[in-house]
């Protein structure tokens, strides 16, 4: 990709950072979102120099500045891989909910590991560990939330990195975006929703489709779980439903005291 033209921003040519993509335990869907953005893929590729992307390209270089790491750590060999990436990268990006919070994978942590292994593999030996997000192992410089990540947000953040601008996240919850989009409140349609407590930035992706929020982007600043529980209960939802939503992607772990079954 070295011969494609560099992008200009406000008339000034932008140096293309060397980026690499890596995946730990994950569905690799967040990476695929890059290839899935047909309309803007070529623009994206003119902004960065992709030097490693195993799912999409053979070969590759270990000289990169920005590492996008998808997935959570679920086996000891992933610890070493992640540390090596940390040593090489100037900027390490936790890419998607699995990397930021453990994602759906961390639902495994509800059980003891011996039972988990036996349930799936019987007596066949298999190695696994408690699921951890990247920042439990290494320093994480940037987080791109979501299951899956939203391509517009990825592109905005990459652009900001390329031009050396600060990265900011919405401090407010999904509810704000949902209201701005003019949606009928999911609670009025009889659906549970974590919109009041989840960090915005997805443009209320699920509520726009009449599906309640499951909190994949984790908590917004100053969110109030007790108020959410009150709303949920007033609309007739059980503690189990509340917990199912809050614990699904791992973003609210640490806020679940008193809610455990």
């Amino acid at each position: 990709m070295s011969d494609s033209p560099a992008k200009a921003y406000l008339g000034v040519p932008v140096r293309r950072p060397r980026v690499a993509f890596f995946e730990l335990s994950s569905c690799e869907g967040c990476q695929l979102q890059i290839l899935n953005n047909e309309a803007s893929l070529l623009d994206f590729l003119s902004l960065v120099e992709v030097v490693r992307f195993r799912e999409g390209m053979s070969g590759g270089s270990d000289e990169y500045e920005i590492a996008f790491v998808e997935g959570s750590v679920t086996r000891d060999d992933e610890v070493g891989r992640l540390q090596k990436i940390r040593e090489t990268a100037k900027v390490l990006v936790a890419f998607g909910s699995c990397a930021c919070f453990g994602g759906v994978n961390q639902l495994k942590n509800r059980f003891c590991l011996d039972w988990v292994k036996k349930e799936v593999y019987g007596d066949h030996p298999v190695e696994t560990a408690e699921v951890r997000p990247l920042d439990a192992i290494v320093q994480v410089d940037l987080r791109i939330y979501g299951c899956p990540v939203k391509k517009e947000e990825v592109e905005k953040i990459v652009t900001h990195i390329a031009i050396g601008s600060d990265i900011t996240y919405p401090r407010y919850p999904v509810c704000m975006e949902c209201k701005a989009n003019g949606n009928v409140c999911l609670y009025d349609l009889g659906e549970p929703c974590l919109g009041p407590v989840t960090r915005a930035g997805c443009d209320s992706w699920c509520p726009n489709n009449r599906a309640g929020c499951w909190g994949c982007r984790g908590p917004s600043d100053d969110m109030n779980i007790l108020q959410l529980v009150d709303i949920m209960k007033r609309h007739g939802f059980s503690e189990e439903t509340i917990l199912d939503r809050l614990e699904c992607f791992g973003g609210f772990s640490g806020h679940l005291e008193g809610l455990k079954k």
Binding site: G29, A39, R54, E119, V120, N209
Partner: protein, 424 residues
């Protein structure tokens, strides 16, 4: 004649997930040919236990980043079968249309971005942006259409939002469906050109007699539910899937393996085409015939061509489905769900082959046991046996290391494996 050869591919590229190829030939004798899967298990079957039924499709879609729609639909079907829910005709058609467009986007992703670079002797699709701009633009155009339809019907191309037990949270705008119909009609030309491109590629000449397993179509080429069939003549009901898969563990793989009548079998586009050839849309059958693809085809590299054939089929069938949907007034988007104790199985043909989800629910609607059998898990043993036969055949012909390494990588890629999915 070639005497020695050592191939060691760590984390094969341009496939989903992590697998290694090792081939060792000494003195013209094959010492080792191994397809090793080292992916970390995520234990979906365990983490579902104790969860209420409505969690299953939402969580299980996350098994796969390529075929999340297929996983969601298999999960929904398992829940609906357990609760005795029969989807409405409207829901059935919308799900099939959604499924078709996932098949199209996945096949095109594989054909152009993952497989074609091998035939064009480049490492990825990226150099083709400059050397073959028309080809890349065409691939992007087809994929964009498929993904746009998925966004419209499923709410989102990856990890869909509108697909729920009982139907959909909301329905697409009919105006949008009309627009997609026009784009589908226009994309036929792109598929003809795709066939033209693949006609310029040399498909490796390698045959190994194989058992093929898929859904069995009755009136239409099968994608969602129905009987299971193998090219060796085994027929089973959907709920008897365990007798079709017979999963077992092996030391070389964190994914389970499967077998039926022989030491291994294959699933995927080639299996579906082999088992349901007469049910393909006529123009899709025409493409198959142009490539000499007729049942039963035993060359695994022809799975690429089978994906091309299916791409044509799903486009033609999607036009018909949209015509049907536009010809009737919208019914309610979803039907009520009443939970009950029981076991449900959902079998769905996803891009890489037949996928099964099975859940056992207690009377409060909580999952007691879960089982997911992934297409690529069913293919791993067959890939291993193909790899051994390939190494023996080409070592005897005195092939160079680099060529054998390329052919071995292309063999695995032909199956379009979804490795993290297979381990889940």
């Amino acid at each position: 004649m070639k005497i020695d050869c050592n191939i060691d591919v760590h984390h094969l590229t341009r496939v989903e997930g992590h697998g290694n190829i090792r081939i060792s030939i000494q003195g013209g004798v094959l010492r080792q040919a191994e397809w090793e899967v080292v992916e970390t298990p995520r234990f979906f079957e365990a983490l579902l236990v104790g969860k209420k039924w409505d969690n299953a499709p939402w969580i299980c879609g996350r098994i796969c980043g390529i075929c999340s729609i297929g996983h969601t639909l298999a999960s929904i079907r398992a829940v609906e079968n357990a609760f005795g829910i029969v989807p409405s005709e409207q829901t059935r058609k919308l799900r099939l249309l959604l499924k078709h467009m996932e098949t199209l986007q996945s096949h095109i992703l594989h054909l152009y971005f993952l497989a074609a670079p091998d035939f064009l002797d480049v490492g990825s699709v990226f150099p083709l942006i400059n050397s073959h701009p028309d080809v890349v633009a065409r691939a992007a155009r087809i994929k964009l259409l498929a993904n746009d339809v998925c966004d419209c019907i499923g709410g989102r191309r990856l990890h869909p939002t509108r697909t729920v037990t009982g139907g959909f949270t909301m329905l697409p705008d009919k105006k949008e469906l009309e627009g997609f119909r026009s784009r589908l009609i226009a994309v036929e030309r792109d598929l003809i050109d795709t066939a033209g491109l693949f006609r310029t590629f040399t498909i490796p000449d390698f045959i190994r007699e194989t058992e093929f397993v898929s859904l069995r179509g009755v009136d239409e080429y099968p994608f969602i539910g129905g009987e299971l069939v193998s090219s060796d003549g085994v027929v089973r009901k959907e709920h008897e899937y365990r007798q079709m898969t017979n999963e077992y563990t092996v030391s070389q793989s964190t994914s389970k393996w499967a077998r039926l009548s022989r030491e291994s079998f294959a699933v995927g586009a080639l299996a579906r085409v082999n088992n349901n050839f007469s049910l393909l849309q006529p123009s899709a059958r025409g493409v198959a015939e142009a490539f000499g693809l007729a049942p039963v085809m035993h060359n695994p590299y022809m799975n690429n061509i089978a994906q091309l054939v299916e791409s044509v089929h799903v486009v033609m069938d999607s036009i018909n489905l949209i015509n049907d949907l536009l010809g009737t007034a919208w019914d309610a988007p979803r039907q009520p769900v009443v939970q009950r104790e029981g076991i449900g199985v959902g079998a769905v043909e996803v891009p890489r082959g037949i996928l099964y989800h099975c859940y056992q629910f207690d009377k409060t609607g909580h999952i007691v046991r879960a089982d997911c059998v992934i297409p690529t898990s069913q293919n791993h043993a067959n890939i291993q046996h193909d790899l051994t036969a390939l190494a023996v055949q080409f070592a005897a012909e005195g092939m160079q290391d680099r060529d054998l390494e390329l052919l071995a990588g292309m063999l695995v890629r032909s199956y379009d494996p979804c490795i993290s999915c297979s381990v889940h």
